[in-house]
């Protein structure tokens, strides 16, 4: 048998069921892998002792015949999910030392299903970034840079999650996606990243960035593993008023390999000026794979595509400025004493928030302020309606959309930091589906000329993750992509 850390979640599930391996051994192998990957800085906190104990408890459950769908599977948790009694920082100085007294709904579901937590994964501060460079705890390195000695970003904001899964230091990881924060790092690290429909996974206990855009979802090495993990993470939660009260289908059962007769839309507007030939080539290749598998490829139009990103940079900072008002130095986290209460607030927030977070809070405060609200925020919410209408019209003509995930592969650590807009353009292909709340997945599909992974994105109708997974599974099979960093 292959190394324990090379197993997929589905593979490990089968081996555990057969009794060929134990959860204790599987977790021990991953604890060692987390140590061996410490150069990547993928974790803010590791929890090897509680992981070993949880794995032993899993073996004991299995001996009694009580087995959950993820029993004994070691995973990483983005440090944006509150974990009871375990430091949760959002990669911000302002939350350093914060130990929640409650567990997020999504992680509670994972533990109920038997999963084992290896530690808390690094991210961009408050999930604001596309490179993992804004973390208070330092940047994460992409394992794909190791062999060439290049320090590449893993993407972001779920950069630690993606790096850990790609480096085989975790079998899967939770992430959150607000504008691309699961899909873009998955593409940069050569793994699968899934953003489900808005409302599919509860946001309760997830540190809020932009509430109407925040989507928890899984990062895994295969589409099947994504289907398994999302099946556990998803479900109605009365504690989140936007959680959808709809049944969770058996996502894994959707992986039939049969896409015959499905109509796959290719949105013309995603063919951007200056798009690299290798991205364009991979995109056509993806369409060919699906055509050969019996799907029908249709050209569709999403005219508002280029406006999704500037629209996002009004809505997301506006919501962030409201959500981050809670960090006041009074109830939890950092307090920097000032001359009076207002000065205490101002000094706490100036010292506690990093540069990018401050920038977004200021933009958000400005666009919501008296006299500018209509021109910016209200305008953006109208444009957002039109973006959703665009997708609805496209889905009259097709069952799903195929696009690239990112305009380029992973870049070097330190690049693009002096130009916020250049950094924001990372998310040009992922933001539209975020604005419309639609399910979208990034599948690793090929390598760039420099030997770095590139991803293709499949977007489907709201609450139709099954079609998304079925198509992604066929793309994955045709690409035959080996997710091992080299």
């Amino acid at each position: 048998m292959a190394e324990l850390t090379d197993l997929t979640i589905a593979g490990a599930r089968d081996e555990l069921a057969k009794g060929a391996i134990s959860a204790a051994d599987l977790t021990a192998a991953h604890i060692a892998a987390v140590d061996a990957a410490s150069d990547l800085n993928a974790f803010i906190l590791t929890t090897p002792d509680s992981a070993a104990a949880a794995a032993a408890a899993s073996d004991a459950r299995r001996a009694r015949g009580e087995v959950g769908p993820l029993d004994g599977i070691p995973v990483a948790i983005k440090d944006l999910f509150c974990t009871e009694g375990i430091q949760t920082t959002a990669a911000s100085h302002i939350l350093e030392g914060f130990k929640p007294t409650y567990e997020s709904s999504v992680t509670a579901r994972l533990w109920d299903a038997g999963a084992v937590m290896l530690g808390k994964a690094n991210l961009d501060e408050f999930a604001m970034g596309s490179s993992n460079m804004t973390s208070h705890f330092g940047p994460v390195k992409n394992p794909w840079g190791r062999s060439s000695g290049r320090d590449l970003v893993p993407g972001g904001s779920s950069g630690g999650s993606a790096a850990a899964v790609a480096a085989r230091a975790a079998m899967g990881a939770t992430g959150t996606d607000t504008g691309g924060s699961i899909r873009q790092p998955a593409a940069f690290c050569g793994i699968v990243g899934t953003k489900p429909t808005y409302g599919r996974c509860s946001r309760w206990g997830v540190v809020a960035f932009a509430s109407s855009l925040d989507h928890p979802g899984p990062l895994t090495r295969t589409v099947r593993d994504a289907a398994i993990m999302l099946g556990v993470m998803a479900g109605h939660d009365p504690k989140d008023s936007t959680s959808a009260n709809v049944p969770v289908p058996d996502f894994e059962a959707a992986l039939t390999g049969d896409v015959r007769g499905l109509k796959i839309g290719i949105p013309a507007e995603y063919r951007m000026d200056g798009m690299s030939p290798e991205i364009e080539g991979l995109w056509s290749q993806g369409a060919d794979w699906l055509r050969q598998a019996g799907a029908e490829i249709v050209e569709v139009s999403l005219p508002l595509t280029k406006y999704a990103l500037p629209c996002y940079y009004i809505v997301a900072p506006a919501e962030a400025s409201s959500n981050l008002a809670r960090y006041d130095g009074v109830r939890y986290g950092l307090r920097v004493p000032g001359e009076d209460l207002t000065d205490t607030y101002e000094r706490t927030r100036a010292e506690g928030f990093g540069e990018e977070v401050q920038r977004r809070v200021l933009i958000g405060t400005y666009v919501l302020s008296a006299g500018y609200y209509d021109a910016y925020y209200l305008k953006a919410q109208k444009v957002r309606t039109r973006i959703l209408e665009d997708f609805r019209a496209a889905f009259e003509r097709c069952d799903a959309l195929l696009t690239p995930t990112s305009p380029y592969p992973a870049f070097g650590i330190g690049e693009k930091m002096d130009d916020p807009i250049a950094m924001y353009l990372n998310d040009v292909f992922t933001v539209p589906a975020s604005m419309a709340g639609l399910p979208a997945i990034s599948v690793p599909a090929g390598l760039s000329g420099d030997g770095l992974p590139l991803g293709l994105q499949v977007i489907s109708r709201a609450f139709d993750e099954e079609t998304m997974f079925r198509i992604a599974d066929v793309v994955e099979g045709a690409a035959g992509f080996d997710t091992r960093p080299r």
């Binding site: 030392g97 130990k99 007294t101 409650y102 429909t197 808005y198 409302g199 109407s212 855009l213 009365p238 936007t242 959808a244 009260n245 508002l304 406006y307 500037p310 629209c311 940079y313 009004i314 400025s321 008002a325 006041d328 130095g329 009074v330 109830r331 939890y332 986290g333 000032g338 001359e339 009076d340 209460l341 207002t342 205490t344 101002e346 000094r347 927030r349 100036a350 928030f353 401050q358 920038r359 809070v361 200021l362 933009i363 405060t365 400005y366 302020s369 209200l378 305008k379 919410q381 109208k382 444009v383 957002r384 309606t385 039109r386 959703l388 916020p420 604005m435 419309a436 709340g437 709201a462």
Partner: protein
């Protein structure tokens, strides 16, 4: 739209973020760049469009109006930077 230093200082005050005078020029430049880029949204015709209020087509569920949670001050105050008994403590605000 170009923001001047005074506007940035006012917004920072609204956002309760302390700024030093020497930061304001750079911030004004960065924020102006971002806002200038955002302004392309003006090209989009939204005269007949209603602003989005919810991305998911759902009505919020109603629940019975009663207390369902609480009565654990130790948990609530567990992360307080400064506390006295069962209260958060802040600098004096009344003279």
């Amino acid at each position: 739209m170009a923001l001047d230093k005074q506007t940035v200082a006012r917004v920072a005050r609204l956002a309760r973020i302390h700024t030093n005078d020497d930061q304001l020029d750079a911030l004004a430049r960065q924020l102006s760049n971002i806002l200038g880029w955002i302004e392309q949204l003006r090209e989009v015709d939204t005269d007949q469009t209603a602003p989005m209020t919810s991305v998911a087509e759902m009505t919020l569920a109603m629940r019975e109006d009663r207390v369902t949670d609480g009565a654990y001050p130790e948990k609530v105050l567990a992360n307080a930077p400064v506390r006295t008994d069962d209260f958060y403590t802040v600098p004096k605000v009344v003279e």
